[in-house]
């Protein structure tokens, strides 16, 4: 086959933008997906692998006692972070299990009270898929659509609650867009409508990032994860209210650990790490919150100073301080991620998935698919610095400008052509 090949310019090994002093690449700015273990946490965990390795359920020797004491301490640390009582903490393998346990466990235990669950389209898959499973098993599920700001209203939730509603499950802060639901008002509205309905909240992204008080929120159940707050992976917790006592059927039967709600030998080092992570987060909350917000605003301002046609997804006002989810019109998200390979972020573009559908969260907000494909989620965390943010701004702006020069949509926009007026050929 005759092919004329144009000589390719030599590979641009040089970086697009200069790396400032004090910045080490790659930069991790995807702190909603996970976080590194804080060195203080790791230090607390280490003795529990080899030195204090006892089984916390061993009641008859000092190895067991040491492990049990460490678990009790961690239980109190986790409870303190969210304003709960140590006896209300049930350790699980992570938040996915905690969410499954909360919703399935409550629906099973209170089946005589009803057969209805209410949740929201923008919940994490751990909640949505749990509800789908229940639906297949004959439970009625109502999935509410949030407003374009990502928020549901207390009235909207109360309207969905019936005398058959067993559980309402609504997250406090969203993992993609960081929006914070008016949870206290939602709980109050639900309880006014049906005093027996339980409210569970996935507080994974909120815990340790903003003040959370399960008592003030008047929740019944709440799910947490350690690795989103600088603790280890593989450990989470379900907070289960004791006064008045909330009951759930276990998903895992065995030795009756965790007061029968979750059997299985406790992973003591992970629990110790979770506890320490909670303690550190609680201690630093008052300073870290404002610092995260300042970094987020610096990032947002910096991007907007260099680029036009950027759109923040979800409410900017009711949002986690470390989250910025932003669409860069006319630039496909995955191609931008490729340019940002030295900064770990994530995209709402689903170009990698077989479905070719962008983020279901952005779609639920009514974000147009063409904009959803251009979204990037920045998740700032404890170890990010101003210098890293400045480098990121520079890299993002330079990359978006370059990719817009490559984009036929940007060219049309510059020529004043309305992209919506074109007869496209969906594929």
């Amino acid at each position: 086959m005759a092919t004329t090949v144009t000589a390719a310019p030599s590979s641009t090994a040089t970086r697009l933008v200069a790396v400032p002093a004090g910045v080490t690449l790659p930069i991790f700015m995807d702190n909603h997906s996970t976080t590194p273990v804080d060195p203080r946490v790791l230090e607390a965990m280490l003795p529990y692998f080899t030195q204090h390795f006892g089984n916390a359920a061993s009641r008859n020797h000092s190895f067991g006692w040491a492990a049990e004491a460490a678990v009790d301490n961690a239980r109190a640390q986790v409870a303190a972070l969210i304003g709960g009582d140590a006896k209300e903490i049930v350790f699980t393998s992570g938040a996915t299990e905690a969410i499954n346990l909360a919703i399935k466990g409550a629906v099973s235990y209170y089946k005589k009270q009803g057969n209805h669950v209410v949740t929201v389209e923008t919940e994490h898959k751990a909640t949505l898929d749990t509800c789908k499973r229940l639906q297949r098993d004959g439970i009625e599920v109502t999935v509410l659509r949030p407003g374009s700001d990502g928020l549901v209203t207390p009235q909207q939730v109360a309207d969905a609650v019936t005398d058959k509603t067993v559980v309402v499950s609504i997250m406090l802060a969203n993992n993609e867009i960081g929006v914070i639901q008016p949870l206290a008002e939602i709980v109050a509205a639900v309880k006014t409508k049906n005093g027996k309905t339980l409210v569970h909240s996935d507080i994974v992204q909120a815990a340790g990032k903003i003040p959370v008080d399960v008592e003030a929120l008047k929740l019944d159940l709440a799910s947490l994860s350690a690795h989103k707050m600088y603790g280890p992976k593989g450990i989470g917790a379900l907070w289960v209210r004791r006064k008045p006592r909330i009951r759930i059927d276990p998903l895992i039967d065995g030795g009756g650990h965790e007061r029968g709600m979750r059997s299985g030998t406790l992973p003591v080092p992970l629990i110790v790490g979770f506890g320490k992570a909670a303690e550190v987060a609680a201690a630093d909350l008052a300073t870290e919150g404002p610092r995260m917000l300042a970094l987020r605003e610096r990032l947002h301002r910096g991007i907007n100073a260099r680029l036009v046609e950027t759109y923040v997804n979800g409410s900017l006002e009711h949002r986690l301080p470390g989250n910025l989810n932003i669409s860069f019109a006319f630039v496909e998200g995955e191609s931008l991620l490729m340019a940002l390979k030295d900064v770990a972020v994530s995209s709402g573009s689903a170009c990698t998935s077989a479905s070719l559908e962008p983020s279901y969260v952005l779609r639920a907000l009514g974000v147009g698919e063409e904009l959803a494909h251009t979204s990037i989620r920045f998740g700032l965390g404890r170890f990010n610095t101003e210098a890293e943010v400045d480098y990121t701004i520079d890299l993002v702006a330079t990359s978006v400008e370059r990719l817009r020069e490559l984009s036929p949509l940007w060219e049309m926009h510059q020529d004043g052509i309305d992209i919506k007026s074109i007869q496209w050929t969906p594929h």
Binding site: M1, A2, T4, S353, L356, E370, L406, E411, I419, W424
Partner: protein, 131 residues
């Protein structure tokens, strides 16, 4: 997901980026894909004596889509219209080592070439009809 070196090379050093005069007689334009699907390719050819003398592209899409269209412009330069229109997406898949989830990018590039050739032919037919 890891990209092949060839995809990265085309993404970082895309060949033949740009636009040709859409209304010029010897230019054919193909515009395929949809913003809602996350992929839009514009591929243009300039034809002299039945041979593609120049090709330009602009693409909104992932790195593999950019690489597929960049490669397509390289391949078709110097080809006759029929040669260009007979390029199969599998040649692009092979050259770029595209994984299965990215095959649609190569299909879109093949469609873009065909659309540009069709557009040029239509233009010529319209001109011949007028003459």
């Amino acid at each position: 997901m890891a990209y092949s070196d060839k995809v990265i090379d085309h993404y970082e050093n895309p060949r033949n980026v740009g636009s040709l005069g859409k209304d010029e007689d010897d230019v054919g334009t193909g515009l395929v894909g949809a913003p809602a699907c996350g992929d839009v390719m514009k591929l243009q050819i300039r034809v002299k004596d039945g041979v593609i003398s120049d090709a330009k592209f602009k693409t909104f899409g992932c790195g593999s889509a950019i690489a597929s269209s960049s490669l397509a412009t390289e391949m078709i330069k110097g080809m006759t219209l029929d040669q260009a229109a007979s390029i199969r997406n599998t040649e692009i898949v092979q050259e770029l080592n595209l994984p299965p989830v990215k095959i649609h990018c190569s299909v879109l590039a093949e469609d873009a070439i065909k659309a540009a050739v069709d557009d040029y032919k239509k233009k010529q037919a319209a001109r011949d009809a007028q003459a």
